[in-house]
Symmetry: C2
Subunit: 364 residues, 2 copies
Amino acid sequence: MMTPRVFNFAAGPAVLPLPVLEEAQRDLVSMPGVGMSILEMSHRGKFFEGVLAKTEADIRKLASVPDDYKVLFLQGGASLQFSMVPLNFLPRDGSADYVVTGAWSQKAVKEAKKVGGVKIAWTGEAANFNTVPAQGDLKLDPNAAYAAFTSNETIHGVEFKYVPETGSVPLVCDTSSDMFSRPLDVKKHALIYAGAQKNIGPAGIALVIVKDGWLKTRVDDPRLPTMLNYAIHADNTSMYNTPPVFAIYIMGLVMKWLLSIGGLEGIHAINQRKAAKLYAEIDRSGFYKGHSAKECRSLMNVTFRLPSEELEALFAKDAKAVGLDGLKGHRSVGGMRASIYNAFPEDGVDALIEFMQEFERANG
Amino acid sequence: MMTPRVFNFAAGPAVLPLPVLEEAQRDLVSMPGVGMSILEMSHRGKFFEGVLAKTEADIRKLASVPDDYKVLFLQGGASLQFSMVPLNFLPRDGSADYVVTGAWSQKAVKEAKKVGGVKIAWTGEAANFNTVPAQGDLKLDPNAAYAAFTSNETIHGVEFKYVPETGSVPLVCDTSSDMFSRPLDVKKHALIYAGAQKNIGPAGIALVIVKDGWLKTRVDDPRLPTMLNYAIHADNTSMYNTPPVFAIYIMGLVMKWLLSIGGLEGIHAINQRKAAKLYAEIDRSGFYKGHSAKECRSLMNVTFRLPSEELEALFAKDAKAVGLDGLKGHRSVGGMRASIYNAFPEDGVDALIEFMQEFERANG
């Protein structure tokens, strides 16, 4: 008998839609009409070419990606993007603006500094990253090679509710933890990237959407490794080397699922409802305390504390025992983190709220 | 009803062992005792930590990896290794020796030249890479930072039957297409790497085995992207960033299967038997002609020509129609290529031989 599925609140890799898993399982040994597993298929074969083309087409449809943007499927996660962005777009004697809203933007800054100049347009470090800046708080350099921000910080649970306005300076967004969780205005960005393993697929693949016109302005460095060159990947439709075939296939199934439930508008409505319920419970009695400022609370990663670390440990342990898994927060924030990505079922949120109420009654 | 499985002769991604696919399928929606898919699991969770540790332990057991070597699971395939090796080990004013036996070693040379000096210890280009050098043919520089070779060239079907002796110069081996197909003397190498998608797993992961002592001699370049630094991955047991969880899990199942059939000695005997049959058929009548010199014929990639390109096209088409898929050779060699990796079943080789005989009778 199958072990019953738990509610998986992990921050990533994270829960995937059940229909995606079921379809992948059904076809795993032998793809209908092909007679081999997707895990065994040549990336140059017709079937996978179809998978790749359909996945890209669905992404374009979902996010209304303009025709003059490339959609790339790369390896190395967001962590490699931290380096690829400056290696392709930051001249050694130039500088880029970085908005620092948490651990991930800090890591991006660290890699960019190896390549060229970095100016911090804003940082939330002093308040342990419990908020994001308003547009007016940003110190932007009109001569920056680009300006980079992180639309949602997984660890701290803060999320931009607007796209920063940077004038003629190209905007780069790390949207690893809220990609396709809400409408996305691609044309306000020069480059968008996301490690897939939170909202749009399994670990082992990153999605990049980049404007053609910006690609043409790449820093021409003959020493850049071929694998780190966006133009090479774009010119070879992500097939310069063997792509992560299975991860792209799963991402394709996730895109199909997103379209089936109403696209980005549809999933946004669901995500707003799930998050609103949970934040309402956090705010209800004062027993639980949210980490992030209300105006920038993440719809994806809900971070909260309990009155003591002992209670927090007990909460995580008791929750796990009733099938609410992965709630322990990151050590840099402490407390709890409920990651309720696109595929996280609403009844899992309801179950957590019920558990929170019981836990408060027993320990409050 | 499941589409019957074909015989998959593709060069990579390539056939996986059926028991691996069946176990992965069984557990794909909910891992027993965990209640979530391996595709959804946190890489920091206990289950995956166990998978990673067991996969590494089985690799160490299979290849008798000495304790002073690290085993790393990385993204970017062999193509990124072409850059990582020189970026970590080739000083800008130093030089490395490269043995060029085909398309893959050529690509490795191209990336190394971006980093430092390259000396070609031998090249088979003039004879379209139909052989590998004997030890005495190698022009080795005793001051080289390292010497690199490709143990098996997938495209041309040539394979080293010995490990080059390089004295005190560290030896680097790209063994992407024959990793774990035969006994491997790890301690003769400083670093061994392989894209997994031919013999040891799905696309989207590369395996690296590197000697601790050599890691300590890394070029200290403060501008090296963190993700390209072997030492960072070694210090973080391949968990610096989110690893390709599913690909590691599948690789673990492949390692378990290899151990179950007698380890590297066991699979080598099977591979020798499969290849010997097929080469005997190629040599039988003169209708088929092998591309590579007999003394370095690959046990993995069997390349052969027919009397005309028209017959080659017909051969590929007719073979596919009877469930022998992926036989068309690479354009740079032409003709046919039967990739018969570890997991390729012996009855598929028998079926190909029977088809070759029928095809010759009908078209010879």
